[in-house]
Amino acid sequence: MSANIQINVHHVTRLEGHGNIVVNIRNGTIEKCQWQVPEAPRFFEAMVRGRRWDDIQTIVSRICGICSITHSLASTKAVEDALGLQVTEQTDMLRILMHYSEQLQSHTLHVGYLVAPDLFGEKSVVPLVAKAPDAVKKIIKAHRIANQWSDLLAGRTTHPVTLTPGGMTKIPTAQELKDLQKTLKEIVPDLVAICEVVHSVADRMPAFERPTEYISLRQDNPPTYTFYHGGIVSSDGYGPVHIRDWESVANEYVSPQSTAKWCRWHRDSYAVGALARFNNNGHLLSPLGKKVADMFGLKKGCCNPFMNNVAQLAEAAHVVEVSIELIDKLLTKGLKDEKVKVTPRAGRGSGCVEAPRGILFHTYEFNKKGECIAANICIPTNQNHANIQKDFEKFVPEYMHLGEDGLRHGMEMLVRSYDPCISCSTHMLNVTFVK
C-alpha cells in the first residue's frame, strides 16, 4: 500500500502562525517532503532603526502575542547591555517571576488547547469540553491564573507595560504577591491532575526518535533550571558561549522553503524548547517538575520530539513551585519603590532569554543619542525549522505505511509538538499530499 501519497496541508491548523506540509510519494519513492514557511514577513529589524532606546521594547513585544513577555525581557536586557545599565536584585526577581507566568500560560495553552485534541482524537478543544469536562475546566483555570499572574507583574496579559530599561515602572504590593502565592499553591493539585489526564492518553504519541543537538541556556552560578540567565550550551557538549556571541551559534541562513530564516550549529540542524532545556538542565528541575517527568518516563538524552510536550508539563509544574519560593524571598526582603535614571550612550548589547518554545536572541546597536542604528533578532521557531525538516525526512519513510491520512496526521502532530510560533519567526504551516 501507500505506493502513491500526496499531502498538501496549506496552513496547518492549531498552530501559531502559517506553515505548510508538502509530501509526494510515487510508487513508494519519496519525491518531495517539505516543511514550508509562507508567513508574511514583518521586518522588525528594519523598522526599529531610528527609534529611541525606550521605545524598543514596545515595538518588538509585537513580534509575538504568545511570548510577548519573553520578547520584552530579551529586548530590555539587550538595551541595558548596550547602555551599560545594571538592575537591582528586586527588579531581577520580579522580572523572573513575570517570565514564569508566561511559561505557565503558554505551556498550558499549547498542551491543553492545541496538543490534547490530537491525543483524544478530536479536531479542537471544543469537543473535549463534553468528553473530558473536568480536565478542560482545570486547563482553563490554570490558563486563567497564569494570565492573572501576568496581569499583576506585566500590567496586562499580553505586551507588558511595566518594563523599562534599568528597572520597573510599577511593582506589585506585598498583599498582591501574597494573594498570588496562595493561588499558586492552590493550583498545584490541578496541575498534577492535568498531567495525569495527558498521561492516560500519552501512548498516542509516536515512539519516534532522531539523534538531535539540543541548544538552551545553562546557568552554573548558582546552578538553576534557567529561563533567564546564563550562557548558551549544546547537548553535544559545546559551550557555554556568551550570549553576546549568539550569532556564532545560530548561523542563520535563508531557505527557499521559508520566509523565516533557518539555523544550524554542529549538525545540519538543532532543536530548542522545553525538551532542549530539559536535556541540558533536567537535573535542576523542582521536585514536582521531576515527578512529572518521571510519571512519563522522560529522561535526559531523550530525542523524541513529541516528548517536548511532556517537558512542557514538567516545566509548568516547576515554574509554579519555584515561584512560590521566589515570592517568599521577595516578601522577606521587602518591596522597595526604586527610581530609574538613564543617560543614553552609544553602544551595542545583547539579551537572551528562554521563550516557552526555546532560546531567543536580541541584539541592538545605538548611537550616542540613544537611537537604534541596527538590530538582529533570532527567534526560537526559526531555530527549529531546519530540525522539523530533518525530522520529516526520517519520519515519512518510517510512517508512510499509515497511508495518507495517518501520515498527514502524524506530521501535523510532529510540527505541533515543537510549539512553533510562526508569527515570531515570521508565520507558517500547510500540508500537501500529492497522488
Partner: protein
C-alpha cells in the same frame, strides 16, 4: 433561529488579539453557546466557506493577502477588524517609513531578491475592503471584544468611545505622565482601554489610533507647557501612527 456562523482569520500580526479571545477563559464556553465558530485556524482543524461574521486580525502586506481578504469579504455579511494591525495597520506600518528594497535588504541581506520574501506597503484592513466594526487596541481588550460581539448579535452599532485616553486616565486619578517628563499620547488617542498603560506608570503609545477629531491645538499646548516640541511628539506617534492619516 440558527446560530450565527463565525470565522476568524489572521494576516500579518503577532496573533496576540486572537489570544485575547482564548483569554476570555471560562466565558468562551458561553460564547460558543450563542455562535458557531466554523473556522479558526489557530485553535481548531475545521474549515468552512460558509460564515456570517468574519473576524480579521492582522495587516495586509502582500498582493496575495489582498486577494484572500477580498474572498473573505465576499463570503461574510459582517466583517470585524480585530486589533491595531487590522484597524490602523499597527506597528507594521513603521515599515512604510522606509524604502521597501532597503527594508528587505536590511533583514534578508543578499537573499532579499528571492521572490518568496516579497513585501508591499502595509495596509489596514479597511484600505483593502469595507469594514463593518472595529475592535481597537494592541492587544484588544477582551471585555470590549465581548461588548462589540454582543452589540452586533443584537443588531446594534457597537459603542466605541470617541474621546481621548486622558478622560479615562483622569477618572483613574493617575498623575499625568508629562509630570514625569514623559511624552504620552493620551490627549489624542481613542479611549476604551481604561487607560491601562498610564495606570501602570507607562506612557500611552497610541495603539487604539486617533480619536475622530483629535484636538491638535490642545496637544500643542501641552507640549509648550512642558517645554517639549511637536517633533518630540511626532517621534512617539511613529510607533502606531505611521502613515495613519492624522498628523500634527
Amino acid at each position: 433561529m440558527s446560530k450565527p456562523r463565525v470565522a476568524i482569520f489572521d494576516f500579518a500580526c503577532c496573533e496576540g488579539c486572537q489570544l485575547q479571545i482564548v483569554n476570555l477563559e471560562e466565558e468562551i464556553l458561553d460564547l460558543i453557546h450563542v455562535v458557531d465558530v466554523v473556522e479558526w485556524r489557530e485553535a481548531m482543524s475545521e474549515q468552512s466557506h460558509d460564515y456570517d461574521i468574519a473576524i480579521v486580525e492582522g495587516s495586509i502586506t502582500r498582493h496575495e493577502d489582498e486577494l484572500r481578504l477580498e474572498v473573505i469579504r465576499s463570503r461574510c455579511k459582517i466583517l470585524i477588524a480585530l486589533g491595531a494591525c487590522a484597524t490602523i495597520g499597527g506597528v507594521n506600518k513603521m515599515k512604510n517609513n522606509f524604502d521597501l528594497n532597503d527594508v528587505k535588504e536590511c533583514v534578508y541581506g543578499k537573499d532579499a531578491k528571492m521572490p518568496h520574501l516579497n513585501t508591499d506597503m502595509t495596509k489596514a484592513v479597511d484600505e483593502v475592503v469595507p469594514v463593518d466594526a472595529y475592535i481597537h487596541g494592541c492587544p484588544i481588550d477582551r471585555k470590549e471584544f465581548g461588548t462589540v460581539i454582543r452589540a452586533l448579535l443584537l443588531g446594534k452599532r457597537p459603542p466605541v468611545p470617541d474621546y481621548p485616553v486622558c478622560v479615562e486616565c483622569k477618572a483613574k486619578e493617575n498623575v499625568c505622565r508629562y509630570e514625569y517628563n514623559e511624552i504620552c499620547l493620551g490627549p489624542i488617542i481613542r479611549a476604551g482601554c481604561g487607560a491601562r498603560c498610564p495606570s501602570s506608570n507607562f506612557r500611552c503609545f497610541g495603539c487604539r489610533g486617533y480619536v475622530d477629531h483629535p484636538n491638535v491645538e490642545a496637544a500643542k499646548e501641552v507640549m509648550d507647557k512642558y517645554g517639549l516640541t511637536v517633533e518630540d511628539l511626532k517621534q512617539k506617534m511613529i510607533l502606531f501612527g505611521s502613515k495613519q492619516g492624522h498628523t500634527l
